[in-house]
């Protein structure tokens, strides 16, 4: 448990998804999902959310960004 108290923060929380996939392909889960129509829009949404919430963008590839929040 010691390492959790030190360093930059606690465990990251899955905060949101931004994806190019269709709603039929990606759904459910605990985080809100934003559907983008192309890469430009996906990046725009991800940038906006990170500016608002201090979240970190991670590229899961195959069209999906996940946004995590280091509480």
């Amino acid at each position: 448990m010691r390492w959790m108290m030190k360093g930059s923060g606690n465990l990251p929380i899955m905060f949101a998804l931004v994806t190019l996939k269709k709603p039929a392909e990606v759904n459910g889960g605990m985080a809100p999902i934003f559907y983008a129509k192309d890469e430009k829009e996906r990046e725009k949404i991800a940038t906006y959310i990170t500016r608002i919430t201090n979240a970190t963008v991670h590229d899961m590839e195959e069209g999906t960004y996940i946004l995590t929040l280091n509480a």
Partner: protein, 313 residues
């Protein structure tokens, strides 16, 4: 009971050497501490008081002023407050620092300040004790005390335990690497571009098992990152976690190597390496039982690399 007059000369000699000890052990460098005039004043004042208390002990004993001696013990206890004061002030600064020292580094600094005050008191005491015997003996002992405290001042640094060399920053798709050490995942394209354009990386290779054990300690790596940031600066603002300077071990290979990545304000590799090498080895790292076992073994065997393959000692 006839009172013996308290001799003034040992007191003066003890005070002088004690104060000089505090003065030479007070330093400022790129770690920026104390780094401001108020810090100097308060620490020199504390040092003066400590030297005075130390110098007073033996002459007070000689003059049979036992009440005075017991009061001195009380005053000495007050000096443990110094650690608390230092810790508090460093912690309050830390609130608005994006790259933090970490609690163990702060504790180490606070302890050092406290310890140097006791050192001051000790030098004052032994030199005044010697001066009570012969005045020139006081001067000799005082000079020796200053020499010893100068030696004690320079503890072990990272540069003693590991080689630090420049590393190449590169991306495997979105994963940031320094040489073969994976640092983190950078999702957006523009921080990746910035890393490739402005970023710097160094690789740390431990010289011996002790070095490796020190490197596995997270707070030690945080301290290195902090010192690197103090030296070359960092391009980081609130809400840009991708640009956090990091120091990570080579995983999952667990070869014991680590790497440090940073987007500096001033891209100066020599300065960065110097900062990493100059980071003090934290006391809390040494308190790790494995490490202290290694230290014992290293001292016993007198060679680098303490344990052979079967783990025999």
């Amino acid at each position: 009971m006839a009172k013996v007059a308290m001799p003034a000369l040992p007191l003066i000699i003890g005070l002088l050497f004690g104060f000089v000890t505090r003065f030479v052990t007070l330093r400022i460098d790129y770690r920026q501490y104390p780094g401001y005039p108020a810090g100097y004043t308060s620490h020199l004042t504390f040092g003066f008081i400590a030297a005075f208390i130390g110098a007073l002990v033996v002459p007070a004993f000689i003059a049979k002023e036992y009440t005075a001696v017991s009061f001195l013990a009380l005053a000495a206890q007050q000096f443990s407050q110094i650690r608390m004061v230092e810790r508090k002030s460093l912690e309050s600064i830390e609130q608005y620092t994006l790259v933090k020292r970490g609690p163990e580094y702060i504790e180490g600094i606070a302890r050092t300040f406290e310890q140097r005050n006791y050192l001051t008191m000790l030098v004052g005491m032994i030199s005044s004790a010697a001066a009570s015997w012969m005045w020139w003996a006081g001067i000799v002992v005082g000079l020796a005390g200053i020499g010893v405290s100068l030696l004690a001042k320079s503890g072990e640094t990272i540069g003693d335990l590991m080689w630090v060399r420049p590393g190449k920053l590169w991306f495997e798709r979105t994963l940031l690497y320094v040489d073969d050490v994976m640092m983190m995942e950078v999702g957006m394209p523009h921080p990746r571009e910035r890393y490739l354009r402005d970023g710097m990386g160094v690789v740390l290779e431990p010289k011996n098992p002790l070095g490796q054990a020190v490197l596995w300690d997270l707070s030690q790596r945080e301290a290195m990152v902090y010192d690197a940031v103090q030296m070359v600066g960092v391009q980081k603002d609130v809400g840009y976690p991708e640009q956090t300077p990091l120091c990570r071990m080579e995983m999952p290979g667990a070869s014991g190597r680590a790497a440090l990545s940073i987007i500096p304000v001033e891209k100066d590799m020599k300065a960065l390496i110097e900062a990493v090498q100059g980071t003090p080895v934290l006391e809390s790292t040494k308190a790790n039982p494995l490490v202290s076992k290694y230290i014992k073994q290293l001292k016993k065997k007198g060679r680098k690399g303490a344990v052979d393959d079967e783990g025999k000692r």
